[in-house]
C-alpha cells in the first residue's frame, strides 16, 4: 500500500492526534497541541516530489500523498497556522473546538497533498464536518443555527463536487488531479464545487454568516483553511480559466462594500476574507506563472496576517467578555497596547504597506495582470487595494483601538495569546523585509523584485490618498460631537448611495428574485410541514383499509402496465 513504509500521510498526524486531545489533560494536552503541528510540518517537508503514498479504491489508484512545490507551500502554511492557532487557543476550555479544528486543519493539509480527485473529495468533506463543528462548538444558539446553514452550503458544494468527480472518472477513466478545462459537465461541476468553498457568488454569504459566530479562538482557525484550500485546488485544476477573473473581481468588490457597511468587527474581517480570496481567484484566472506565484504567495501571507487580525479581534472579544460591535468598542489601545500593536501590524500587512508581507505578495497579482496587458483588471485591482486599506487597514484598528473612549479597560490577553500574536506579527514584518525564503517556496522560479522605487512609490501614494480620504472626514465629524453616528452615516449612507447608483438595475432584478424566492421557500416549507409532520398525511398512522386500497391501486396500475402498454 505504502510506497515508503515509514511515511505517514501528514494529514493523519493531525487528524488522529486531534482525537487524543479530548482524552488528555493539562500539560500533556498542551504539548500535543503544540507538538502535533510541528510534527506535521516535519512530515510535510519529508514529502518529496511525485506520488509518495498510494492505495487502491474501487477500480482506481488513490494517490493519497503527492508532493509538489505548490502543495508543500500550502501544507506548510496550514501547519504553521495550526501551530499558532493552537498556541492562541491553549486556554480555550471547550476541547471539542480544538479537536474539530485540528481535524479540520489536518484535512486541509490532506487536500493540499492529495494527488487525485477522490482523495481531494474525502478530505473536502472532512473539512466541512470539522469546520462545522468549530462554528458549532461556540455553544450559542446563534452559532448552532449558523453551523447548520454553513454545513448545508458546504455539503451542497460537496454534492456538486462528488457528481463532478464521478462523472470525470467516467469520462476520462482517470481520477488524477491535474489541470483541466471547464468544458464538460464533469469539469463544470468540479469547478462549481471548488468555487463554493472560495466564497464565490452567489453563495458568498455563508462565510460572513458563519465565521463571526464561532468562539474567539474558533474564527482564527476558520479564517485559514476552507477558502485557501479552495484557492489551492483552483490553482492546480483551473489556472487560466477566464471566468475566474470576473468571479474574483466580484468577490473583491463584494468584500469591500459589505465590510464598509458592517459594524461587527469580526464580520468586517470575514468580508475582508472574501475580498482577499478574490485577489487570489483573479490570480488563478490569469494563470500565468507570475499570477500563480502571486496567488500562492498571497495565500501564504494572507493566512498569517488575517489570523493575526482575528487573533487581535479574538483577544478583544475574550477580554471584554463578548463585545463585538465597533460601536461598543474604542479606545482600547491604552489598556491593550500589545493587542492594538498586533492589530495594526496585521492591518498594515493586509493593506500591503511596504515592508510588510502583504506588500511582497499581493503586488505580484496586479503585476501579472499588468504584464498580460489586462488593463481593466489591473485598474480594478489597484482601486480595490485602496478599498482594502479603508475597510480593513483603517476601519478595524481605528474603531476598536482608538476613536472614542468606550470606557472599557480590558487587560492584554494571557501570555500564550500574546505569544501567538507576536509570532505572526513577527512573520508579517520578517517576510516583508526578507521575501526570499517565501519566494523560494513558490511553484515557479521568480525574479520578482518588490522593492523597486516605482512599486514602493505607487503603493505609498495609493495608501496615502485613501488614508487621507478617511481622515479628511474627521474634523467634519468632530464638529457634531457624535462621531460614531457620523461615521455611521459615512459608512451606512454615503457608500450605499454610491453603490445604489452602480447597482440599481442589478439590485432591482435580484430584489425581485429574492422576493419570489422567499415566497417560494415559505410556501414549500409550509406545504412540506403540512404533509410531513407527524399528523400530516404522509406520516400519520394509516388504517389497514387505506393500505389495502393502495395495494389494489398499484395492482391495477401494474396490470394496466403489463397488459396494455
Amino acid at each position: 500500500m505504502t510506497t515508503d513504509p515509514l511515511l505517514l500521510p501528514p494529514a493523519l498526524i493531525l487528524i488522529i492526534g486531534a482525537f487524543l486531545l479530548p482524552v488528555t489533560r493539562g500539560w500533556v494536552r498542551s504539548a500535543l497541541v503544540l507538538g502535533l503541528p510541528i510534527l506535521t510540518l516535519g512530515a510535510i517537508w519529508s514529502v518529496g516530489d511525485g506520488v509518495q503514498i498510494s492505495t487502491s479504491f474501487l477500480d482506481y489508484e488513490l494517490q493519497v500523498v503527492e508532493g509538489s512545490n505548490l502543495s508543500r507551500l500550502f501544507a506548510t502554511v496550514f501547519a504553521l497556522m495550526t501551530f499558532a492557532g493552537g498556541l492562541f487557543a491553549l486556554n480555550q476550555q471547550r476541547v471539542i473546538e480544538l479537536t474539530a479544528a485540528f481535524a479540520y486543519a489536518g484535512s486541509a493539509i490532506g487536500v493540499a497533498l492529495a494527488g487525485d480527485l477522490v482523495t481531494v473529495f474525502v478530505f473536502w468533506e472532512l473539512m466541512a464536518i470539522g469546520s462545522t463543528l468549530v462554528v458549532w462548538s461556540a455553544g450559542t444558539e446563534a452559532a448552532g443555527k449558523a453551523a447548520m446553514r454553513y454545513a448545508l452550503v458546504h455539503l451542497l458544494g460537496g454534492v456538486v463536487l462528488m457528481v463532478g468527480v464521478i462523472a470525470y472518472a467516467q469520462e476520462t477513466g482517470s481520477i488524477d488531479f491535474t489541470a483541466m478545462e471547464a468544458n464538460s459537465f464533469a469539469t463544470w461541476m468540479i469547478l462549481i464545487g471548488f468555487l463554493v468553498n472560495t466564497g464565490a457568488p452567489p453563495l458568498s454569504a455563508w462565510l460572513p454568516d458563519a465565521y463571526p459566530e464561532a468562539s474567539w479562538s474558533g474564527t482564527v482557525f476558520l479564517s485559514a483553511f476552507t477558502t485557501k484550500t479552495a484557492v489551492y485546488v483552483l490553482l492546480v485544476g483551473f489556472s487560466g480559466a477566464q471566468i475566474l477573473i470576473w468571479i474574483g473581481l466580484y468577490m473583491i468588490m463584494y468584500g469591500i462594500i459589505y465590510a464598509l457597511l458592517e459594524n461587527d468587527m469580526r464580520r468586517i474581517l470575514s468580508y475582508s476574507i472574501v475580498n482577499q480570496v478574490g485577489f487570489m481567484v483573479v490570480g488563478a484566472g490569469i494563470g500565468t506563472e507570475m499570477a500563480v506565484n502571486g496567488a500562492a504567495a498571497h495565500a501564504f501571507t494572507h493566512i498569517i496576517y488575517k489570523a493575526l487580525l482575528l487573533m487581535s479581534a479574538g483577544s478583544v472579544l475574550h477580554m471584554t467578555g463578548g463585545k463585538r460591535k465597533c460601536t461598543d468598542l474604542g479606545g482600547l489601545f491604552q489598556s491593550m497596547p500589545f493587542t492594538a500593536f498586533a492589530g495594526i501590524i496585521g492591518a498594515l500587512a493586509i493593506s500591503s504597506f511596504p515592508w510588510t508581507s502583504g506588500f511582497v505578495s499581493k503586488s505580484m497579482t496586479s503585476q501579472a495582470a499588468f504584464d498580460e496587458g489586462m488593463m481593466v483588471t489591473w485598474f480594478l485591482l489597484m482601486a480595490a487595494s485602496a478599498g482594502v486599506f479603508l475597510h480593513a487597514g483603517i476601519k478595524f484598528p481605528w474603531f476598536v483601538f482608538f476613536q472614542k473612549d468606550s470606557g472599557l479597560r480590558p487587560k492584554d490577553p494571557p501570555w500564550n495569546m500574546k505569544l501567538a500574536m507576536g509570532l505572526f506579527a513577527f512573520l508579517c514584518i520578517w517576510l516583508g523585509l526578507q521575501p526570499e525564503p517565501l519566494y523560494a517556496l513558490l511553484p515557479y522560479p521568480t525574479a520578482y523584485e518588490p522593492y523597486t522605487a516605482a512599486h514602493v512609490y505607487e503603493m505609498l501614494q495609493l495608501l496615502l490618498y485613501s488614508g487621507l480620504a478617511f481622515f479628511v472626514m474627521l474634523p467634519l465629524m468632530k464638529r457634531t460631537l457624535t462621531i460614531t453616528l457620523d461615521f455611521d452615516w459615512f459608512y451606512r449612507k454615503l457608500a450605499p448611495a454610491a453603490c445604489r447608483i452602480l447597482t440599481a438595475v442589478v439590485g432591482r432584478i435580484l430584489g425581485g428574485f429574492a422576493a419570489l424566492k422567499n415566497k417560494l421557500v415559505t410556501d414549500v416549507i409550509s406545504l412540506a410541514t403540512e404533509h410531513h409532520n407527524p399528523r400530516g398525511v404522509l406520516a400519520r398512522t394509516t388504517p389497514a383499509g387505506v393500505m389495502t386500497l393502495w395495494l389494489v391501486v398499484l395492482l391495477c396500475a401494474y396490470l394496466l402496465l403489463y397488459l396494455f402498454v
Binding site: F57, V159, M162, I166, T529, P534, L551, L554, Y562, V565
Partner: protein, 498 residues
Amino acid sequence: MIDVPASDPWLILLVVVPLLAAPLCVLLRGPAGAWSVATAVSWGVLGIAVKLLGDVLERGTLRYRIGGWDAPWGIEYLLDPVGAFVVVIVAAIGAVVLPYAKSSVEKEVRSDRIYLFYAMVLLCLSGLLGIAVTGDAFNLFVFLEVSSLSSYVLISLGRDRRALTAAFRYLIMGTLGATFYIIGVGLMYQMTGTLNIQDLTTIIPAVADTRTVLAALAFLTVGISLKLALFPLHLWLPNAYTFAPSAVTVFLSATATKVSAYVLLRIFFTVFGQVDLFAHFPLQPVLMAMALAAMFLASLTAIWQQNVKRMLAYSSVAQIGYTVLGISLATEAGLSGAIIHLFNHALMKGAAFMAIGAVVYATGAVTLDRLAGMGKRMPFTMAAFVVAGLGLIGMPLTAGFISKWQLITAALESGYWPLAVLILLSSLLAVIYVWRVVEAAYLRPVPANEAWAATDRVPVGMQVPMWVLAGASVYFGTDASFTLELAHTAARALMGGY
C-alpha cells in the same frame, strides 16, 4: 442431465438448524437457556453462511436436492453469488443481534415470554435464509410465510400496547402481500407446469406474451413491493419498527426488507431473466418514480418525526428507495449498487437502531425532547449513533459513501445525470434528520428534572454488537474492494442467469 451436480448438504443445514432449534427454545423455557441456544445457533449459521459464500465464489452455484429428487420434480436448493451475499447479510445480522438482544429483551419483553421471543427469532432467521437458498418458487412462499408470521409475533411482543395494533396491521398487509405472491406463482404454474425457478426461466419466454403470465408478473411485483415496503406500500413499516422491541427492530430493519429486495431481483432478473422486461414495459420510469418518491418524501417525513425509532423507520423507507433506484437502472452497475447498498444499509441502520435501543434500555427515552444532553450522559452510545448517521448521509469513509458512489456511477453510466444529482440532494435530507438527533443530544443541556443523569450503563453485550456494526460501516467504507467485488459478481450472475 448430463452431469449431475454435486449435492451440498450445508445448504439444507443452513435452514434446518435454526428451524429445529426454535422448538428447543420453547422446550427449555428459561430465558437464559433459550438465549444460549439461539446465540449458539446464530453463530453456527454465520459460520455456515461464510463457508458457503467462500464455496460459491470458488466453485460457482451450489445445489442440494431435497430427498434426492432431481430438479423439476423435487425441491432444489440452490445458491449463487446473489443468494450467498444475502445469506451472509442475514446470518451476520442474526449473529450480532442475538448477543445484543439478551439485556434489551429482558427490559422490553415480559419475562414469561422471553423464550418465545428467541424461538420466533430463530424461526424468522430460518425463513429469511430459506428464501435466499431455495430454488423453488412455492418453497419460497413457505419461507416467506415462516419469516412473516414469526415477525408479526416478534413485533407484537413490544411493551407498548400499540405494538399489538401495529403487528395486526402488518399481519393484514403482509398476508395480502404473500397472497399476491402465491397468486402470481399459481398463475405461472398454470402456464408452465413448473415451480422450479430455473425451469421457469427457460419456459417463461415461450408464454411470456400470455395475459396469465403478465397478470402473474403484476401480482408478483405488487406483492413483493409490499414486503419490500416500497413507497407507497410502506405504510405498515413505520409503526411496526417503532413499537417492536428494539432488538426486533434492529433485526427486521437489517434483514427482512433486504431479503424482499432479493426476491424482487430474482423475479425480474431470473424468473423473467430471458424476457427483457425493462425493454418491453416502461418498468424503469415506474420503479424510478417510486424510488425517488421514497427517497424524498420518506426522508422529508423523517425530518419531522419526534420519535427517533420512527424517524429511522422512515429513513429505512427512503433507503429502500436507493436500492430500488439501482434495480430500476437494470444495468450491471445499477444492480451492483442496489446489492451493495443492501449490505451497507444493514450495517448502518442496524448500528443506528442498536444505539437508540441502548438509549431506551438505559433511560427509556426515545423521543427527541428526552434525548436532550444524551451526548454527555451516554457518550459511547451516541458516538455510535453519529457514526451510523454519517453512514446514512453517505459521508466518505463510511459504507454509505460506497453505496452512493456506486449508485451515482451507475446513474451516470446510463446517462441520467439529473438522477445523480437527485441521489445526492436526497442525501442532504438525511443530513437534516441526523442533525436533529445530534443537535438534541449534544447541543441541548441535560434537563434539570432528569434524576438519572448517569453515564453509559449499557451492558457490554449491547455495546459490543453496536460497535461491531458501526465499526463495520467504517471498515467497509474505507476498504470496499471485497464487498464491491462481491456485488459486481452477484450483479453479473443476475444479469447472466443462474
